[in-house]
């Protein structure tokens, strides 16, 4: 599932972010014992703190767990949750589950992409907004569903999507 654009993102990591991340990273690692099965929880926590998985962090995690860097990278690229590039301040998730699909989520996604001028999976250059698609949010009865910064908006229509974007994501 490795995506070439993600790999490039990891190489292009800005230097200054690595410096500031070190202390926080050590703090995170100190709460773990160093067992291999802690890898995914550690990556999850690192992503929660930094918003993505910085390259240096993955190297440190590999050392901490005594794993090859390739293994950490392999896990980091296998799961859809992990990002190797920073995401925007606002994260707009559009559900593309079955129920949302038959109720027009493709149109909603198209509208949001048009409004923000980016495609799903991308972030605006000013790092303000990211659009992501989700396989299913599990709120099918309220389809179609859009989640903005963790808040679920149900029974979406294209005009409603425009309105919510204006309110929450500008």
């Amino acid at each position: 599932m490795a995506n070439p654009s993600l790999v490039q993102g990891a190489q292009a990591l800005p230097q200054e972010q690595e410096g500031t991340s070190e202390e926080r990273l050590n703090e995170i690692l100190s709460s773990y014992e160093g067992r291999v099965d802690e890898l995914i929880p550690i990556l999850q926590q690192v992503q929660q703190v930094f918003g993505y998985l910085p390259e240096l962090a993955m190297k440190k995690i590999a050392k901490f767990l005594k794993l090859p860097e390739s293994t950490v990278f392999g896990v980091g690229t296998f799961y859809a949750q992990f990002k190797l590039v920073p995401t925007g301040r606002n994260v707009i998730k559009v559900c593309r589950g079955t129920a949302c699909h038959v109720r027009g989520s493709a149109q909603i996604l198209g509208e949001i992409e048009k409004q923000l001028g980016i495609s799903a999976g991308e972030t605006t250059p000013n790092l303000e907004n990211s659009i992501e698609t989700i396989a299913c949010f599990g709120s099918c009865a309220l389809a179609p569903v859009v989640v903005i910064n963790g808040k679920v908006h149900g029974r979406m229509t294209t005009p409603k999507a425009r309105e919510i974007l204006n309110k929450e994501a500008q």
């Binding site: 599932m1 291999v36 990556l43 296998f78 079955t98 109720r103 989700i134 599990g138 099918c140 009865a141």
Partner: protein, 637 residues
């Protein structure tokens, strides 16, 4: 404190709440309720109660399943049946409080139904409503009735009685009870749970594990989320019973990270169990030791497969491996492991609480008990339902679901998510049980049920499912990795008007190869949507391939937009809004769409004023009399 003491305390607390002088207000605060605006409703409710100085206890409960009517509240006045109100807004809830609490008018116009003893004029009994009448609540027995964050509520309603009973039995007796109940795995495959437990019980080894599969990844399914949000203890009690029966002292709940509320409720529930000695080193003083950990999934559909899930728990890429060895012999870290899904575990606790004999009174000969479904898609009453096995699809769609919105025609019912298939309208009387659904080419699956109406294109929706499985294929087996990709490419071609004769046969051949050549359930079932849509809707494929027409008008490349000259009044709105300047015209001129430039976005259709309705969407045909270039509008006589 012994369990008996805990129980009597819990019952006292529950009774005190039931008999309280104050009003009680239950509000559905599952993810669905919140998405529909329950938080605004609760704020308005609190404000109104404070303004009017009304003493009331507010209880945040889980989902009762009537998602179509969210946000919901249930109002209980002492000595009267409770009333459920739906589709609330902050304004309406203030009105209801004013009218019912102050003026004693129960507002039958806004009420859905009543629960409990007694009747209220003008309001039907909730369980007589067509949406609830055919339902039986076993797994969802407490959802919407109790505060899921209060263990006492669960205990006062029979909770942990099943565990207490199990601990008085021998492990083998517990397994026999489950065997007697006929319970089959609710995660999809329908393997007999008792037999699965027996394998794990009989496997040699001191260390054994149990896992609760809460990685509900099927798009269109939310049963397990609602259950964990609404009644986490019912699942936890089941896990403990299973662990005791097979001899495990450690367990995991593997839950998707997309379900933050369910995770939070589980954490709270486990903490409360610790305080009551219901989990730990000496459970209920029986010497039974059990600890449980929550593992958050990181977003990989394939991790719902048991061997991939175990790899993920161990910290690796979630890729399935071949079986045997089965997890019951060599599972997590090579130890015997038993995996069941959320709904199965909640049935286990019900079976131990009330007995296998009671349980077998529901369902059919080979499929016992009930099944939860998330009913969604093009159906009037979407929601979480629990029905006895053997109920017909017709009852589910038309009685419980209230039929198709806008009186449209039903085309198919999709069960089992991307692993399942489409059941056409002609088979609507099919009983819902494991064997019947498999025979029809679909599967029971974990319980997603998406209703599809005539406006849905079968090629498009099949493409949708395959897009999902193709992206979620872990890549280990080549037939799955490349076969799904090839099938998707062919479907793309067909929906883009590039379909060729022979494509259907090629799809079928590929589908069979992917089924045969894949290790795990993902690859083995990914072709099901393709196979069933061809089996039942072959004419739609042929229409796309031969006539280049999509009669549901969903495949964008096969539709065109035209402006009808007799209707266009030359208002220029469409031309102004066209993103690619494909519309020529001018004031008082009949507008014409340049079909070569048009990108089929449909904006012209959206913006054309309804009083003109001059833009039409067609597929495979062209309206007559469309002018080549703009002509003056013919004045209406």
């Amino acid at each position: 404190m012994s369990f008996e003491e805990i129980k009597s305390q819990a019952v006292l607390q529950w009774k005190a709440m039931q008999q309280s002088e104050n009003a009680r207000i239950l509000i559905g605060m599952g993810t669905c309720g919140r998405a529909a605006g329950a938080e605004d409703v609760i704020a308005a409710l609190n404000q109104k109660l404070a303004e009017q100085h009304i003493q009331a206890e507010i209880l945040q409960v889980g989902c009762i399943g009537l998602c179509y009517a969210e946000p919901l509240i249930e109002l209980v006045k002492p000595g009267k049946p409770s009333i459920l109100y739906g589709n609330l807004t902050p304004e309406l809830v203030s009105e209801i409080i004013a009218d019912y609490q102050i003026a004693d008018n129960p507002r039958p116009d806004l009420a859905l139904g009543t629960r409990g003893e007694g009747t209220l004029e003008g309001i039907p009994n909730l369980f007589d409503l067509p949406v609830l009448k055919p339902q039986v609540r076993i797994s969802l027995r407490n959802c919407g009735n109790i505060d899921p964050e209060n263990i006492n509520h669960y205990i006062a309603n029979g909770g942990y009685e099943g565990l207490a009973k199990a601990l008085r039995m021998k492990p083998q007796e517990v397994i026999d009870e489950i065997k007697k109940s006929g319970l089959r795995g609710r995660g999809g495959a329908g393997f007999a749970s008792g037999i699965k437990w027996q394998f794990c019980h009989d496997a040699p080894g001191d260390i054994k594990y149990v896992i609760c599969n809460a990685d509900e990844g099927d798009p269109g399914a939310f049963m397990d989320r609602a259950l964990l949000e609404g009644d986490p203890h019912a699942v936890l009690e089941g896990i403990l019973i299973g662990a005791y029966a097979i001899g495990a002292s450690e367990g995991y709940i593997y839950i998707r990270a997309e379900y933050p509320l369910a995770i939070q409720r589980l954490r709270i529930a486990i903490k409360q169990m610790e305080e009551y000695g219901l989990i730990g080193d000496d459970i209920m003083g029986s010497g039974f030791r059990f600890h449980i950990k929550i593992k958050e999934g990181a977003g990989a559909f394939v991790c719902g497969e048991e061997t991939a899930m175990m790899a993920s728990i161990e910290g690796r890429r979630g890729m399935p491996r071949s079986r045997p060895p089965f997890p019951a012999q060599s599972g997590l870290w090579g130890k015997p492991t038993n995996i069941n899904n959320v709904e199965t575990w909640s049935n286990v606790s019900a079976i131990l609480q009330r007995g296998a004999e009671w349980y077998v009174s529901y369902g059919t000969e080979k499929s016992k008990g009930t099944k939860n479904f998330s009913l969604a898609g093009n159906v009037v009453r979407t929601g979480l339902i629990e029905v006895p096995m053997g109920i017909s699809l017709r009852e589910i769609v038309y009685e419980i679901g209230g039929g198709i919105p806008e009186n449209k025609r039903l085309k198919a019912v999709q069960t089992g998510g991307p692993s399942g298939g489409f059941i056409p309208e002609g088979l609507i009387d099919l009983p819902v049980d494991y064997e019947s659904l498999t025979q029809a080419g679909s599967i029971m699956g974990s319980g997603g049920m998406v209703v599809i109406d005539e406006d849905t294109c079968m090629v498009d929706i099949t493409k949708f499912f395959l897009t999902f499985t193709q992206a979620e294929s872990c890549g280990k087996c080549i037939p799955c990795r490349w076969g799904t990709k090839q099938m998707l490419d062919i479907l793309e071609d067909i929906s883009n008007g590039r379909g060729r004769p022979g494509d259907i046969e090629l799809l079928q051949e590929l589908a069979e190869s992917v089924k045969d050549g894949s290790l795990c359930g993902l690859g083995q079932t990914a072709p099901n949507p393709v196979l069933t849509s061809i089996r039942y809707f072959r004419d739609e494929y042929e229409e796309h391939i031969v006539e280049k027409r999509c009669s549901a008008m969903q495949c964008q490349a096969l539709i065109s937009y035209y402006i009808l000259p007799e209707k266009c009044q030359g208002c220029v709105i469409c031309a102004r809004n066209c993103p690619v300047q494909a519309i020529k015209g001018g004031k008082r001129m009949v507008h014409v769409i340049d079909q070569d430039k048009c990108i089929n976005c449909g904006i012209c259709l959206d913006v054309c004023p309804p009083k003109f309705s001059a833009v039409v969407k067609v597929s495979g045909t062209k309206p007559s009399d469309i002018p080549e270039k703009p002509v003056p509008v013919v004045a209406k006589s």
